[in-house]
């Protein structure tokens, strides 16, 4: 029986929860995330339901990985600015966020990154539109798309803010 499996899949940034769901479904079926690559997920055999997997956007931060390991989580890897952890189900419930405020800060973090990349593309696009290179439109398309992504993230944030009016 094969002990390793690779899945190639693309997720839009606003679908990070779907990505996490897939990783947890895989773990439920006896395949736990072992490492990550660009749009690539490598799994290894585990007992069905042995692990919970979590992911979040978090800039490189050695202290954070250390902190997570102290709480019993295992560091799986990172791709772009996303970091992946797993924890044995037997070692307790595994969530990265336990209140609405920290979920909102996470979305803010994603929003800041999208704005920065989007803004840079807009600037480069505008500058190149007036240059002989004429590739400016590529950056303008990227900028438009990143602004759309920002809108999706903002929508998620608004839903949480509405909920926070009534509870924590």
């Amino acid at each position: 029986m094969e002990n390793r499996m690779t899945i190639r899949k693309w997720y839009w940034v606003w679908d990070f929860e779907k990505e996490e769901n897939l990783l947890n479904e895989m773990a439920m079926n006896g395949w736990v995330l072992e490492s990550v690559g660009f749009c690539t997920y490598h799994f290894i055999r585990c007992e069905p339901g042995e692990y919970n997997v979590r992911t979040e956007m978090h800039p490189y931060d050695e202290a954070y990985v250390q902190f997570m390991q102290d709480t019993g989580a295992e560091y799986v890897g990172r791709m772009m600015m996303w970091i992946y952890f797993r924890k044995k189900t037997a070692d307790g419930k595994f969530d990265l966020f336990s209140d609405i405020d920290s979920r909102i800060s996470h979305l803010d973090k994603i929003g800041r990154v999208l704005s920065a990349i989007g803004g840079a593309n807009l600037l480069i696009g505008l500058v190149n539109s007036f240059s002989p290179a004429r590739f400016g439109w590529i950056n303008l398309v990227c900028a438009t798309f990143l602004m759309y992504a920002l809108g999706r993230i903002h929508g998620k944030k608004e839903a949480l803010e509405k909920e926070r009016l009534l509870r924590e």
Binding site: Y64, F67, A73, F97, S98, D99, S102
Partner: protein
């Protein structure tokens, strides 16, 4: 932050745990214990909260001892004052609730 604002449950229990020096994982365990399993601080939430509480000066990070890799934190005087103020606010909430329920 104006004094009239309520602390979140996470912040409240973090401050309460840090009356004596603790590392992150101990804060999670103490919080769960004190609330009899009701409040579970997730690691990402706690990490973010510890950093912002340090920035506000409500808690401080203690110098890391040789041979230990875990960072410990402790409440400052400012943090303690905020905690005391919050306990008074919570008492008012609970007292008002009980009084009104008895009247009804």
């Amino acid at each position: 932050m104006p004094d009239s604002l309520a602390l979140t449950e996470s912040t409240y229990y973090i401050l309460l745990s840090l009356l004596s020096p603790q590392h992150g994982y101990a804060i999670m365990q103490q919080t769960e214990e004190m609330s009899r399993g009701r409040v579970k601080l997730a690691a990402g939430t706690l990490y973010g909260a510890l950093n912002s509480l340090c920035e506000k000066g409500w808690i401080i990070q203690l110098p890391v001892e040789d041979g230990s890799r875990r960072k410990e934190y402790r409440l400052t005087e400012k943090g303690k004052a905020i905690l005391v103020h919050e306990i008074e606010r919570l008492r008012e909430l609970a007292d008002n609730g009980e009084r009104k329920l008895k009247e009804a």
